[in-house]
Point group: C2
Chain length 417, copies 2
């Protein structure tokens, strides 16, 4: 099955906005075992749109077109789709009614130019948009089935997942059920995890499980795409592989599926009615910024301190070079002075000199409760931003490990020792 | 002049990485008055690459190809370029020598597979890469001049700006000198600024100045692209327009060209040997995170406090509903307790209920020095993240205005009153 994507719009073509819709669509297709073969970007321009539709119609089996469904004069997708398919535009009465009630519910009258959004090519199948006025539609151009989707990211996402992908899968004759299982880990590089997981796919003898990765430093996402006749079949195939991935990656998995490191950490704190204070130096508030904005954090996040190169912190004098005793003393003092049940302190000594690819930082992490203290020292190289990103993640992961009763000190691939 | 861009690579085609190189290249071309007409994305696949090169060669005058110049087997750009142009690959001795000395300087021996990076199509003009082992090159395919560039963003940026764009401009017969003047503002929407600046282009009677915008909420970038026979001509044309833009946008311009809001604010503090303490609630450390990581901030950024829903802050009891007196008291106390010369406090009351498009927040901002206190109240609607982004920007801009002796309270387009 050959799939192409056509992204339309002057804002994308001129680079005014970065095209995140393309990577989103491509990844969603990969997640169900399909692949994009060709991507095209054109502006709001009749000649280019027509040429792009006709060309893709000679090459592809399925084409997803994104954008150009709005009510303004530069939204041309319906018009050019009709021209490319050699049919007329006709009023789709059902969508017009849907739009009118959309406006009525918001106590507004529908502006006349919105009628344009209900004009579809005569041969088109309308595709519902439950959250906007731009309906999608599907029709044949050349030898390909075209799927037209809105440019607004949240409308696109909903339509792609609920409407377009199932239609493409049906045309591809793919198995009825496809499931994506995801594991999020921190501390192991992609090639290392690839090597650790060697052979796990074979635990499903039917070959229905495919392993993949998405690396976004410092996190790694390990993906299992599973195809089966139905969801029961999918889960039967997945179970032995999932168990093995959990076993091999062990403590390094901090979350699965839609969960996040900061979410899991916050939940573990909330579960025990804990409160948290955070002390940061070089990470400049980024640890607090990851946790404190989450829904539910208001009960847990007690206090954050962002400091730089102070000679004392919470009454603890800081020596010229940090050490374990000082880190622990700062952590304990921060907890006591802010009255939180848990304290996390992350103090960083950055190397001297200009930013460069081998610039490093030494990271001193303390975690304190009323009766426990944990300490971890690490060293990360790779320039200012790399050190900062790594330190934020390492600190959150140490806290997650502490709360889950796992060892706080376990060697990671990104540190120098 | 018809320009196309071809982005290559499985990582881009599968959406594993978001294609920021495309928008970067398109914007850089727009900045010098050129436009991209068509974008193509293909994977590391011989058949697709050849088809993409040949197609673009029938349509365009100039084509920029990005990626595929690395040393590994899936880097195919040179090979397919030679095939599309109907010529052989030959060893480019000069680039081989450059690469070898690149490795020698790093005390390493060049791996044999890097030789591949010095194999160029026989008719190609080599384009220097001063910071990597992938040289670029230019050659004709069909009726177009093709420019091959590396996928690594910083190598692409340098090669595009220093080597590729001047060559394309020369082919376009464009004036010798082109200059981009940029103004960064906060508080006025794009259509409002467009209206305020009506007619400024005409202040250069030769029509050499073009006005444009790039909006990234909550900031707006106003761009003047100027063409002239030489830089003296450019500056002569630009001067009256620049003066008028500064006059019409006035206090709303916080920086020009490469400067940033946080950079300008930090510089104004550093200039008077000031120190800063920041208190944040709902913004969760994001104000500190904007300033405290900057080079030079270690002397200025004294202390940051991130708090949520406390009943007291720095000894000041917080009432059920915030007010001006409380905001000012917190600001003063924060300054005194942390010993900073300046304090910025940003306290936010978020509306109740689930996140939604009309969810709002009331923002209470205080700025204190030893002998001055400033206060600003604002209300922003648009959901949790929108309120947070807006509050961070508003607070930094209030501080910038205070430091520059401008009114801290001036109505902005994004607030409800």
């Amino acid at each position: 099955m050959r799939i192409e994507i056509i992204c339309t719009g002057d804002e994308v073509l001129t680079g005014k906005i970065t095209n995140t819709n393309f990577s989103y669509m491509a990844q969603k297709l990969e997640d169900v075992g399909l692949s994009v073969h060709w991507g095209t970007t054109v502006g709001d321009d009749r000649e280019s749109l027509l040429a792009a539709f006709l060309l893709a119609g000679t090459r592809a089996d399925a084409v997803i077109v994104n954008g150009g469904l709005g009510p303004t004069v530069d939204d041309l997708s319906q018009e050019i789709a009709a021209q490319a398919a050699g049919v007329e535009l006709v009023l789709h009465q059902e969508w017009l009614t849907t739009m009118e009630s959309f406006f009525t519910r918001r106590m507004r009258t529908m502006p006349p130019n919105n009628v344009k959004q209900a004009m579809l090519p005569a041969t088109a199948e309308m595709i519902d948009n439950p959250i906007g006025t731009a309906c999608g539609f599907a029709l044949d151009i050349g030898k390909a089935r075209f799927f037209f989707t809105p440019g607004v990211p949240r409308e696109l996402r909903r339509m792609l997942e609920e409407q377009v992908i199932p239609r493409i899968l049906a045309r591809a004759g793919a198995p009825a059920s496809i499931f994506l299982k995801r594991f999020h880990s921190y501390g192991l590089g992609e090639s290392h995890v690839d090597q650790l997981l060697l052979g796990v796919e074979a635990l499903d003898p039917d070959g229905g499980v495919k392993l993949g990765f998405r690396a976004h430093y410092p996190q790694l996402e390990t993906k299992l795409t599973v195809r089966g006749t139905d969801m029961e079949d999918v889960h039967r195939k997945l179970a032995p592989v999932t168990d093995e991935v959990r076993k091999r990656l062990g403590n390094f998995i901090f979350a699965e599926d839609d969960k996040t490191l900061e979410g899991v950490t916050l939940a573990a704190l909330a579960e025990r009615n804990a409160t948290l204070t955070v002390v940061e130096t070089f990470t400049a508030g980024q640890i607090a910024a990851r946790i404190a904005h989450l829904p539910g954090a208001e009960k847990v996040f007690r206090h954050g301190t962002v400091a730089r190169h102070l000679d004392r912190l919470f009454g603890v004098p800081l020596p010229a070079e940090l050490d374990q005793d000082t880190t622990e003393a700062v952590t304990k003092a921060a907890r006591e002075l802010t009255g939180a049940s848990h304290a996390l302190a992350v103090l960083i000594e950055l190397d001297e000199g200009a930013d460069r690819i081998d610039l490093g930082g030494t990271i001193w992490i303390g975690i304190a409760t009323a009766d426990q203290i944990e300490f971890r020292r690490s060293r990360i190289l790779g320039g200012r931003e790399w050190v900062r990103l790594g330190a934020v993640e390492l600190a959150l992961d140490c806290l997650r490990r502490f709360l889950q009763g796992l060892p706080v000190v376990e060697r990671i691939d990104f540190e120098k020792t």
